[in-house]
Structures are given as C-alpha cells and as structure tokens.
Symmetry: C2
Subunit: 215 residues, 2 copies
DNA sequence: ATTACTACAGATCGAGTAG
DNA sequence: TCTACTCGATCTGTAGTAA
C-alpha cells in the first residue's frame, strides 16, 4: 500500500478489528483523518483496487472489511518497528565519577524515598553512583518504558516526577537507573541507586569502568 | 512527519541507530527507496525543516542524526501497531464437531508424529478434536507467531509444513491448535491435538461448546 | 564524487455539486 | 443523508544540469 495511506488503514483496522468489519461514512473518516470527504472517498476506492479492503457502499455509509493483504502489510511494518523498539536487554558501560551524586539529596526526601524503597525492595544506600556514559547509549536505555516515581509539592516548591529503570550493574547487583524530569545534570551522566553501597559491594572506585544492563 | 516519509525515516533510523548518526549519500538512499536522488535530497531538507533530523552536508555525502522528535513519532506509531499485533492471550469459543478429524491420519505419520510429540511433551491421543469456530476469530488466533512443524517428502508425495499454537482448552487442558499449510478443511474449523482424549477428559460431546485460549 | 536548483509533468487535493 | 464526479489549485517527483 502507499505509505501515505498507512494511517487510514490503521484507523480502519482499529474500527473493524483485524479480521472484522465496520460501517463508516467517508465524512466521519474525513473528520478523523483531516482529509476531505472527497479524498477519503477516493482513497477507499484506491484501497479496494489494491485489494486491501472490501467495500460495500450503501446509503448508510460504507461497510469495510480489511483483507489479509492489508493485515500482513501492516504487520510487516510492525515487525520492522518492533525490531527497533521492543525492549530487549540492553547494556552500556561507563566510568564511575567522583562523589555520591546530587541524587543523595532528593532520594532522601521522604516522599521520593518511600517510592524508591518500594521499587528496590528495601532500604537503599543513601547516595547515587554517577556514571559517565555515552549520551546515545543512555538515550537507548531510557527509551524503554520507565517506572514512574510521582512528584509532589511542598509549601516551598514542587518536585517533579522521576523515571527509573531496573538494571543490573556488572551483571550482578540489582540497581535502578534514575532520570529526574528536570535534570540539572550534564546529559551524559547516568545515576544509579541500589540497596548496596556499590563502591564497596563491587569493589569499584572513581574511574572504574562499570557495565549497566537494563533488565 | 508526513506519513509518506515514514519509510525513509525508518530506513534512516536503521542505518543510524535510534540515537546515533550515519553518513549516506542521497543517491544511495534513492536506490534503497526507489525515489530519485533529487527527491531524496528534497525530502531530507524537508525532514530537517520539520525538526526530525539533523543534517550536515559535505562532499562525501550527508551526515544524519535523528532527533528525539523523529524517534518519538516512530515510537508512537509503533505503540499503536503494538496494540494490534502484540501477542496477548486470546480466546475463542466453538462447537465440537463429529468424528476424530482428518488430522488423525497425518498426525500419525512418523515424521510429523515425532514433532508433535516433542511440542506436546509426550505421546498424544490419536485423533484431533474439530471445532467449528468464527473465521475471523480463528484468523486472530493464527495471526500470532506459530511453532512450525516442518514438512517432508516420501517417494510417493510431499507433506507440507504445519503451523501450531500452544493453547488451553476450557482453561484447563493443554493442547495445540494446528493449521496445515494446504488445508482441505472448511476454513471455519479449528483442529486441536492433546495428550489427552479431550472428549473424555473434559466430558465433552459432539455439539458441546468449548473455549480455546492461545497461551 | 557530492547536493540541490529549475522547470515541467503528473499526482493529489478539496470545493462545488450531481446522483 | 450518503458516495463520488469534475476541475482548477497545489503538491510531489524527476530529468537536466549547476555548483
């Protein structure tokens, strides 16, 4: 099918189901897609001609059934995207930076702390390990679906949501990678929190290289 | 982004990675997409204008980086398709038909039999339960990724591949739904095989209604 | 080698309107 | 109401060619 009609076909399959049928009017579809009624009419005739839909026109609208051809074209496009976006295990490496991280402050705030504790399954080490990473790799890691730590407000100010991902560090120790909504960090830094003091547990120091694997 | 450029953007993200970069020439892309060099040139300029890619032209080609905007647009399209195609649990119901099914013959052929036994985890009842189902529902069930039973040849004839899906019948008993490559069945019949005699095990008879759930 | 401008052909769009 | 035809405006595509 023409790429420009993917959206329309997707809309139809949502209405009709993968192998079902639906009755719609061209003006309904026009409104939903932003095209004119005339263009939808033409497009439907095109799709029929290409063997992507079956069409039964009446004075109540048009009954549409998607063919196997349409479903399989949509699916093969889906599989290509799935190759990119399905959340496979993903690893990146980086160098440990000095200090405990600014995360020490906000992870200690009671409201956040409660949520971190729940996700980590127990009290956690007060302080984050900051790792210098490749920005692109960090973006890939954080493109997976996050666990959301909700924000809150005090009289003084409001604290935003934080996104976290369960990870393993050096393939052994559970931790979570965290990404504050409004970060003050340089973008190429990844902060992780664990129930362990990671420096002791893994015998790592500033400048050690560690591997973080998203689970 | 314009829908008509989804394919091009997908190609670019495949080359560059989700947050990486790549150097390509417009004529390479032209060849890969079937557009002319000139059209690709124009489309890349359009994508840049829309804020979907960063472009750095040199006499070696064009360096392209996808922006977060492009990735998020692709991803939201992916999520819509995922809603349709991700293989969730799926159930359908149908009426048990008379007889043991023609499957009794081919499941008894040594080559097939060996493969069925492996998938079912043990010797199976000789004979298939045939269930009259809604064709659309059957199509949805069989739109998930199948396990393939490979075909074989004898001197006399060749036997095609068979697709099967692990299922539960009446939410209790494991079975597999089978779909021969060249079926002689009416299309609205679903055949299942189990290590049990399903009629006895589930106390069902001809015309009983059973539920088949894809696992 | 590149990219990209120009110029024109042909596709696509939607307003008006018929059936 | 509905679909869909006509037709002029606009968009899209590419050959030729410049830079």
């Amino acid at each position: 099918m023409k790429e420009e009609n993917f959206g329309l076909v997707l809309l139809l399959v949502k209405k009709a189901g993968l192998f079902g049928r639906t009755i719609v009017s061209t003006s309904q579809l026009a409104e939903l897609t932003g095209f004119s009624q005339q263009s939808i009419s033409r497009k439907l005739r095109e799709l029929e001609k290409e063997g992507l839909i079956l069409r039964k026109v009446s004075n109540k609208g048009t009954e549409i059934t998607l063919t196997k051809k349409a479903v399989s074209e949509l699916k093969s496009f889906y599989l290509e995207l799935d190759e990119l976006f399905s959340e496979k295990e993903f690893s990146l490496s980086g160098k440990v930076l000095d200090g405990l991280g600014e995360g020490k402050y906000y992870t200690s705030l009671p409201n956040y702390k409660k949520q971190f504790t729940k996700i980590l399954g127990g009290d956690f080490f007060p302080g984050t390990l900051n790792i210098e990473v490749n920005l692109n790799e960090k973006n890939v890691l954080t493109s997976a679906k996050p666990i959301i730590i909700t924000g809150f407000k005090t009289k003084a100010r409001s604290f935003g949501a934080i996104k976290v991902w369960k990870c393993l560090i050096n393939k052994k120790v559970e931790c979570i990678a965290i990404l504050p909504e409004r970060t003050t960090h340089k973008e190429n830094i990844l902060e992780v929190v664990s129930i362990f003091n990671l420096r002791k547990k893994l015998n790592i120091k500033t400048d050690s290289v560690v591997e973080v694997t998203r689970k």
